[in-house]
Symmetry: C2
Subunit: 192 residues, 2 copies
DNA sequence: TTTCTATTATACCGTTCGGTATACAACCTG
DNA sequence: CAGGTTGTATACCGAACGGTATAATAGAAA
């Protein structure tokens, strides 16, 4: 069972560094010091490795997101908690977060994009609902909930990308003040 | 010579749809109704096709950007003109713009990323200089010019991504008012 | 001890990969 | 016409691709 985890780890590092399509199955198993049938025993296919990787990580994220949204509070508080969850998730495994972003922006007909799409869509829907549930605060959104959700994720992702440039060694964690400032910036955009 | 352009067009469409690594040379030439030696005659290699594609398009963009920045005006005007150039460039060839974005977010050790990197870097430097030249307006930026540049491109790209969701058929062009609103939103972030 | 299951390796499959040696047209130039 | 250049196709290269049939190994269970 430990070889299974080892394969996932090696695959993640290679996918992150070179991109899904540019990595061969041979390369993954060589890095892990194993052979192909072992990988196929655990994951069935190359895309199976990526899917398992995504599923495992998203299961963690899903729990954190639910906890963040179950609490009482206004839209501002919910967005703050959500952003904090994303930041901590990012800090915990930068490589995976960056890989996720690369996959999200990759070609629509690509196998790897199709693998991550349902998960991204699921989280979009969650965020769309956050805005919908806040209609008493935000007034008539004219169906722009989806646009807000895209904007929110875009803003957070963009912040984390910039953060990578500023603190490449990941010396300190993202402070609550920074997250608050991020949310304020986003909210201003909506209310203006 | 027309086959050269045909190959570039077919390659662009395939790279956009499936991703650089997932497209084979065979696939490109089949789509163009030609054979491999023709492609290799014009471009020398698969990565040569991508490089030619990028270079051709960026040459156009470079001219427009220079025109936008040569004019007199404050930082707000320069950013506005810059954003307008990007929007028109996006409208003129959405497929290429989206391909460029996908490449930009792709894995750092990937051939395709390395191909686009110098061009993206060049435009970053141009925008960093825009902020530097506006130091009399913006005051002490504490070396955050680069962060501003990343933020500016991120904001524009994100806007265009959302725009694709709102107007997938590209029925109408992005209005001057929309661009102004985009710039205002970005400027507020800086001054606050 | 025997048997079963889980895990791993050897060695191979057919296909596709990026790339090329060669030759043959078509064309312009003299 | 002759000769060079440009452009294109046939047919092939070795290597790598994703994937698998088969068997050996190990440990637990009986």
């Amino acid at each position: 069972m430990e070889n299974r985890a080892l394969l996932l780890q090696c695959a993640k590092e290679l996918f992150y560094a070179k991109g899904y399509d540019a990595v061969g199955v041979q390369e993954i198993v060589e890095k892990a010091g194993l052979t192909k049938p072992t990988l196929y025993y655990y994951f069935g296919s190359k895309i199976g490795v990526l899917k398992t990787l995504i599923e495992t990580k998203f299961d963690e994220l899903r729990i954190s997101v639910q906890e963040a949204l179950d609490s009482e509070g206004d839209i501002r508080k919910h967005l703050y908690c959500l952003a904090e969850v994303y930041c901590r998730f990012f800090e915990q495994d930068r490589e995976f977060y960056m890989l996720m972003m690369a996959l999200f922006y990759s070609a629509r007909e690509n196998e790897a994009y199709k693998a991550i799409r349902p998960y991204v869509a699921e989280f979009y829907e969650t965020i769309v609902k956050v805005f919908e549930n806040a209609s008493h605060e935000l007034g008539n959104m004219n169906g722009r909930q989806r646009q807000f959700a895209v904007g929110f994720i875009g803003t957070v992702n963009h912040y984390l990308l910039v953060h990578c440039e500023i603190d490449p060694e990941q010396k300190e964690e993202i402070s609550k003040e920074q997250i608050t400032s991020l949310i304020n910036q986003f909210m201003y955009g909506i209310f203006s």
